[in-house]
């Protein structure tokens, strides 16, 4: 039985250590906010934070998580950066279908937590791993700038 710290709470999962964190979250713990998009770290839909750093949950065997703290989209609103991103996303109507946005929001929250005023190049570097098929990139960029400005105001 593995113990995991997710969004500040202890969770237990009876799985083998090789199962990627993505499937433990979704199928074992029922936390379906983290999305499956590609399974090979090409789309970013499964992005979560491990001690605040964005990682692709589809590539992370759950046995390697250890005591590190996991934050998912269900919990990121409890962090100032995550809340700022969620608010900007709604204010600017960034979202269309929304399926990729869990991952976009997690990548964006990690970016603005570490970078007070991200440049376009910073945004490109931090967000190029997150695909949006609806094509919301124009507003993702605006949303990050707005969230960063409000977060660091």
């Amino acid at each position: 039985m593995l113990e995991l710290s997710i969004n500040g709470e202890a969770h237990h999962a009876d799985v083998t250590a090789d199962v990627p964190l993505l499937w433990v979250l979704r199928d074992v713990l029922g936390m379906t906010g983290t999305k499956f998009g590609c399974g090979i770290a090409q789309c970013g839909a499964c992005t979560v934070h491990l001690d605040g750093q964005p990682v692709r949950a589809c590539q992370l065997p759950v046995g390697l998580v250890g005591a590190r703290k996991i934050t998912t989209v269900e919990g990121v609103g409890a962090t100032p950066a995550g809340a700022a991103v969620q608010k900007a996303w709604l204010d600017l109507d960034v979202i269309q279908c929304g399926y990729c946005q869990s991952g976009q929001i997690m990548s964006a929250a990690a970016l603005i937590a570490s970078t007070p005023a991200p440049s376009d190049a910073d945004i490109d570097a931090a967000m190029a791993g997150n695909i949006c098929r609806c094509g919301t990139y124009v507003r993702i960029r605006e949303g990050i700038k707005k969230a960063a400005a409000e977060h660091h105001a």
């Binding site: 799985v15 083998t16 199962v19 990627p20 499937w23 433990v24 979704r26 199928d27 074992v28 029922g30 936390m31 379906t32 906010g33 983290t34 999305k35 499956f36 998009g37 590609c38 399974g39 090979i40 090409q42 789309c43 839909a45 998912t72 989209v73 269900e74 990121v76 609103g77 969620q86 996303w89 709604l90 109507d93 979202i95 269309q96 279908c97 929304g98 399926y99 990729c100 946005q101 869990s102 929001i105 945004i123 490109d124 570097a125 967000m127 190029a128 791993g129 997150n130 695909i131 949006c132 098929r133 609806c134 094509g135 919301t136 990139y137 124009v138 507003r139 993702i140 960029r141």
Partner: protein, 714 residues
């Protein structure tokens, strides 16, 4: 309105029994799971509006929300006429019923083709206006005043003269006993409070915190998880399966082997996938084992030799002589690759079945499940969810049929999720299409025009009643009607069904081919005439028309004619499709190795009256990105009957670091509403191709853009 009354009662019974749909709570509201009292409300004047005696209000959405913002738009239209505050309303997905929720333009329950606003602009307003009239009449009767002396606002009827007001809930019961007006009086557009003003989306509050449940997220009690593999060659069958390794893996529970599908059921998706990977499956490839990209293109080109069916009256032109310009344009096979992979959760019970899925066609999903199980459609409960990307892929129900056939062998509910590889390789695809263009020029201008379209008749399979006279109306859309004042146009259609792939609709549909070919051809003609592409288009458009207006607006905003660096260029697309006029101007820079970087897109849009202008802008922005992925990166290729791409590394989607600036300019208009989901995808492709032509002198005639070809020729 009267006509639907009996079926409405059936509907309410169905809801009470079936517990249908998710509902999306609005702006901070709660996620409500429906089938509850809100739907069996006191006042249910039609298929769309439910008002309880407590004032709780639910609007039932006849079109599915897949990102295009239609829940917001349809709710705005009802709320405009009904005079309710949208922040207090719950939106619910309609249950399957062609009779109640059939798209007025297709007669079946279907969301697609950029038709929602065109089909529902008046029906939604009429529904709101009729309900409002009944509520006013009920309040006036209670107060014994003239209904004409009452007004409505924010869910209340008011009588100014006596200072009285009453909430809709309090008179819901009385209103329910009245007959709906046959011809409800609609508001004068000058008095609109909502329509035409930007409105925040109503479907996204639960999309920022992961709480919204897409089809792939459902967790019925006791659900198991499965993934599947269909034959890698279309039409192939399972010859042999060795499952000894798979059975030994932890978490693998069951292996389902059907004629043409193998599935593994497990404790979670990872176990199922590991199990599937561990199976040694031998396939009998069948008749399509030799299909390749080459045979597909050869088939298309061979078909082009046929005369085809005339879609317009003009005779084909004699394509000989020096004054005739001819060219041929082709677009490739494409996958849709929506971010939510194909999935369907199914619980097969004795004589019944329950589905959880996100589909653009609820009744088709219900029908295919019923057919697969040999039970009546009414025995299939469909829980339709908000969709994580459709783009036409979820107009098909192959994923439902496959899931049901697997679930038939599984005890209890099972969630069948396709891997991304399965999604790319065993999909239904946007077909390859070709256009063979000819024009006779006199003083540089076309005096005769021929456009022969070659491609499949998706309509003939998808909506057979709409396929008449051998013409697929979608396949020739954008060819028969252009934004130009042209001489007699001969448009011909050759139906060609590619062998070895299944084809379906894809965002932008028929105009993707026809606007691409027409607009590239217009650039070619302008070049032959020695005329600037903007001036040439201006000379072919009505100076007072809507097409000219968007063309000039886009040109002005894009700074057409201002200098650009070497190997940079601007290209235009002018189009009329889906009832909307668009002009897109792309600016590109081409590197020495032929790599194309799109720097800027400027689009002017006249889509008639707009309901939610910000939603229109979002659809153009997103449509452009969808089209850029296609024009720059995408093509599905086959070898030995098998699709060669497998995931996002080799079936590339545009990423944020490749984004151009995008500017969208809306033209204020009182014309009938046009569609807006598809046009941006269509216009960006020829605009970019024409910009490459301007930058390099190389006109690319087959998509996607081939940098190696540009490097060789430029």
């Amino acid at each position: 309105m009267n006509a639907v009354a009996p079926t409405r009662r059936q509907l309410l019974r169905g809801m009470a029994a079936g517990g249908f749909v998710l509902a999306v709570g609005l702006a901070g509201g709660q996620l409500a799971v429906a089938g509850d009292d809100a739907h069996a409300a006191a006042f249910a004047p039609d298929a769309f509006i439910r008002i309880g005696t407590d004032g709780a209000m639910t609007l039932i959405m006849p079109q599915v929300e897949m990102g295009q913002g239609i829940y917001t738009t349809l709710a705005m239209l009802i709320a405009e006429e009904l005079d309710v505050d949208l922040a207090t309303v719950t939106l619910a997905e309609a249950p399957p019923s062609d009779a109640l929720y059939g798209n007025p333009l297709f007669k079946i329950q279907m969301t697609g083709g950029s038709t929602s606003v065109r089909a529902y602009f008046l029906p939604m307003r009429r529904a709101g206006a009729a309900a409002r009239a009944m509520l006013v009449q009920a309040a006036a009767a209670r107060w014994r005043v003239d209904p004409a002396s009452c007004t409505t606002e924010a869910g209340q009827v008011r009588h100014a003269a006596s200072g009285r007001s009453i909430g809709y809930g309090a008179i819901a019961g009385a209103a329910a006993r009245l007959k709906p007006p046959a011809e409800p009086v609609l508001k004068d557009p000058k008095t609109f409070r909502l329509v035409g003003k930007p409105h925040h989306r109503l479907d996204t509050a639960h999309k920022v915190d992961g709480s919204l449940k897409y089809g792939i997220d459902v967790m019925p009690e006791g659900v198991k998880f499965a993934t599947l593999a269909a034959s890698p060659v279309l039409g192939g069958k399972v010859a042999h399966v060795d499952d000894s390794q798979a059975r030994a893996l932890p978490g693998v529970r069951q292996i389902v082997v059907l004629d043409d599908i193998v599935a593994v059921v497990g404790d979670h998706m990872w176990a199922a996938k590991q199990g599937l990977d561990a199976l040694a499956i031998t396939w009998d490839d069948g008749a399509n084992a030799a299909v390749s990209t080459e045979t597909l293109w050869q088939g298309l080109q061979a078909a082009a030799a046929q005369p085809g069916v005339a879609a317009t009256k003009a005779a084909p032109i004699d394509a000989t002589g020096e004054d005739v310009v001819s060219a041929q344009y082709e677009i490739p096979l494409l996958a849709h690759a929506p971010m939510e992979p194909m999935n369907c959760t199914v619980h097969v019970k004795p004589g019944a079945c329950e589905l959880w899925v996100g589909t653009q066609v609820s009744t088709k999903a219900q029908g295919i499940a019923a057919k697969a199980l040999g039970i009546p459609p009414e025995a299939v409960t469909v829980n339709n969810h908000l969709i994580g990307g459709g783009f036409g892929r979820r107009l098909e129900v192959d994923m439902v049929e496959k899931a049901v056939r697997v679930a038939q062998k599984v005890d209890g509910p099972v969630k069948i999720v396709w891997t991304r590889e399965e999604d790319i390789q065993k999909a239904m695809y946007r077909s390859l299409y070709g256009s063979w263009m000819s024009a006779r020029l006199q003083d540089g201008k076309p005096v005769a025009w021929e456009h022969k379209v070659v491609g499949p008749a998706v309509i003939a399979r998808f909506l057979p009643p709409a396929f008449t006279g051998g013409i697929d109306i979608d396949a020739v859309d954008g060819a028969v009607e252009t934004p130009y004042v042209l001489p007699d146009m001969a448009v011909r259609y050759v139906r060609h069904e590619p062998v070895g792939v299944q084809t379906c609709f894809w965002r932008g549909v028929g105009p993707n081919n026809n606007v691409f070919s027409t607009e590239c051809f217009v650039d070619l003609l302008a070049n032959k005439a020695g005329t600037d592409p903007l001036d040439y288009r201006r000379s072919l458009t009505d100076p007072k028309g809507r097409a000219r207006h968007v063309l000039d607006l886009a040109a002005e905003k894009a700074g057409w004619g201002t200098p650009l660096p070497a190997r940079s260029g601007r290209g235009i697309c002018l189009q009329f499709a889906f009832g909307s006029y668009l002009a897109t101007i792309a600016e590109v820079a081409v590197a020495d190795d032929g790599t194309v970087r799109v720097q800027r897109l400027v689009t002017a849009v006249d889509c008639g009256v707009t309901v939610n202008p910000d939603g229109v802008i979002a659809q153009i922005q997103g449509g452009h990105v969808f089209g850029l992925s296609a024009v720059l990166h995408q093509q599905i290729t086959l070898e030995k009957g098998r699709v060669q791409q497998s995931n996002f590394h080799d079936y590339r989607v545009l990423r944020i670091d490749e984004m151009p600036q995008i500017e969208v300019h809306l033209v204020a208009s009182a014309e009938a509403p046009g569609g807006i989901g598809e046009p941006g995808t269509v216009s960006v492709q020829p605009a970019v191709a024409n910009a490459v032509y301007a930058a390099t002198g190389v006109q690319l005639t087959r998509m996607p853009i081939d940098p190696a070809l540009i490097a060789r020729k430029a």
